[in-house]
Symmetry: C2
Subunit: 330 residues, 2 copies
Amino acid sequence: MTTIYDVAKEAKVSVATVSRVLNNNGYVSEEKRMSVKMAIEKLNYRPNLLGRNLRKSESRIILALLPSISNPFYSKILKGIEDVAIKNEYNILLCSTDSDRERERIYLNLINQKLADGIISMNPIQDKDFFLELSKNYPIIQCSEYNSNIKIPYVSIDNFRAAYDATHYLISLGCKKIALINSNEKYLYARLRKEGYLQALRDNNITIKDDLIICAGIGFQNGYDAVKRILSKEKVDGIFAVADILALGAIKGVKELGYSIPSDISIIGFDDIEISTMVTPTLTTIAQPMYELGQQAAKLIIKRIKDPNFIPENILLKHQLVIRESTKKI
Amino acid sequence: MTTIYDVAKEAKVSVATVSRVLNNNGYVSEEKRMSVKMAIEKLNYRPNLLGRNLRKSESRIILALLPSISNPFYSKILKGIEDVAIKNEYNILLCSTDSDRERERIYLNLINQKLADGIISMNPIQDKDFFLELSKNYPIIQCSEYNSNIKIPYVSIDNFRAAYDATHYLISLGCKKIALINSNEKYLYARLRKEGYLQALRDNNITIKDDLIICAGIGFQNGYDAVKRILSKEKVDGIFAVADILALGAIKGVKELGYSIPSDISIIGFDDIEISTMVTPTLTTIAQPMYELGQQAAKLIIKRIKDPNFIPENILLKHQLVIRESTKKI
DNA sequence: TTGTACGCGTTATCAA
DNA sequence: TTGATAACGCGTACAA
């Protein structure tokens, strides 16, 4: 492999001069700059980042920790992260944990092994103490999912308010019996959205019925099962599912039971993933700015890496009600 | 930061001994091994990978080059890659190019800057010469999409055969007028699937009509537009879309025009992405073993990294016809 | 404006 | 079985 020494020899200068040309700093005469550039060209030289990284004590790698890469929600965020990262000459290490604690640990440790300069975590944190300890010594940002008990900055949306808005919208359509299909309450967002749902009902003097609240997992099948369970007991006129994927399952279940959407039952989802526009009826939902979430998280972490004294403020981005075909005024 | 020297001092041994304990090689007395381990524990020492990587001239990073992370097809492959990688102590660098040549170049160059030990490319290659040149000096595997003119090993499926099977299946159902909604023919898979479609028609003495063959892009809207264009000219009884996402668009278009699926028109897709089971009707399709494609590609590239003399054979994995609700015997 | 020489943290060779 | 020390390739302080 050709090194900076080879280039120096070819250009008849010292390695220091080559390095100066490479990094565009320090004084270099035009003449030498040219001959260095020609030598680089001739030898097809590319600096070895392993050497550079060690010398500079940086990896220029950002670790993106997420539960699952197959979830379109995360992949949109990831895209935002990647776009900002590449503009700033950072690279993204893909770390999907599948909620495996062991795996999470392996990935997190990369940062104290200096293979990553910072971490963006979209994971519900499993090993809280370890994570917190890590954040004292290294740049870490939480994105979308976060743990508010822990003093680690986050970029997210106002889940309470968003769920409130979703529920309130159903109420404004005339719905009186509104079911909630929630996901696993180990997620903070799930707990917050449930609160938002409850508050909206209270504010409008609608009785809260435990039978209408289901804690499903996260996934199409869970939404499908949940709605069947609910409707087997009681007819509803509105359904709020805390994730589009749950809503899609619910739509299928509702259809199978012979109800029509939105005439009999209005359904609203959450996230605004692409699929929501592809189904029939298209899905009314609360849109999260997924791409922007990723962008903001990346910007924060990069700023933080550059300046360790910079303490990011938490950021809550705006959600948006997107009305499509699955909801209708009664 | 604590280094191997700190550990050596604490354990009252040399750095060489610490290194031996760390890497489990060479002879170390049980006594010293223990005291090194205790020192590591006490100081909470973690080896700096930047130093190790430079010394060993490896990054233990594999670069995953793909067009778009948001496409569920690629994210499934990626999962297969990641799972194999982590088992072998490799990490995955996420490189989505968005078909941007500049960006592709940036990512590809990481390998001759030694930040990656190998590349798995799912991209239709833009800069063929550069790519080929690179593959002479570095481990590269093509996965799913590949360029057969170039001598770079690949893992894929038999796209010709798979498309033939899809078309043949429609014919076996009694379809006489079968449309093809293809994606962009810059992709090899698109060209191969078209060939498979044509061959199946020929083998069954069905007239090939250019009006029934549309080169759409890739995406839901494209499928939707394509089917409207086709049906505005001529009624068909079968549609083969070369990607599920196109098929989903087609389903929507067909429905809007008042035809029923599968009674009036049978539709078959390709890929078997998750959404295909969530729509109504659920989609008959040719399933690609996406996860396995990723796994195989990762296994090959790792084997190749370990042994530069190992020349991988091309691998074609089996596809599978998955029959659901969108097709029916006439 | 340029060059010499050191050190980033690790592994591996060699001699003891 | 152990330790001293030379690399790995780079950037930069310092001297010139």
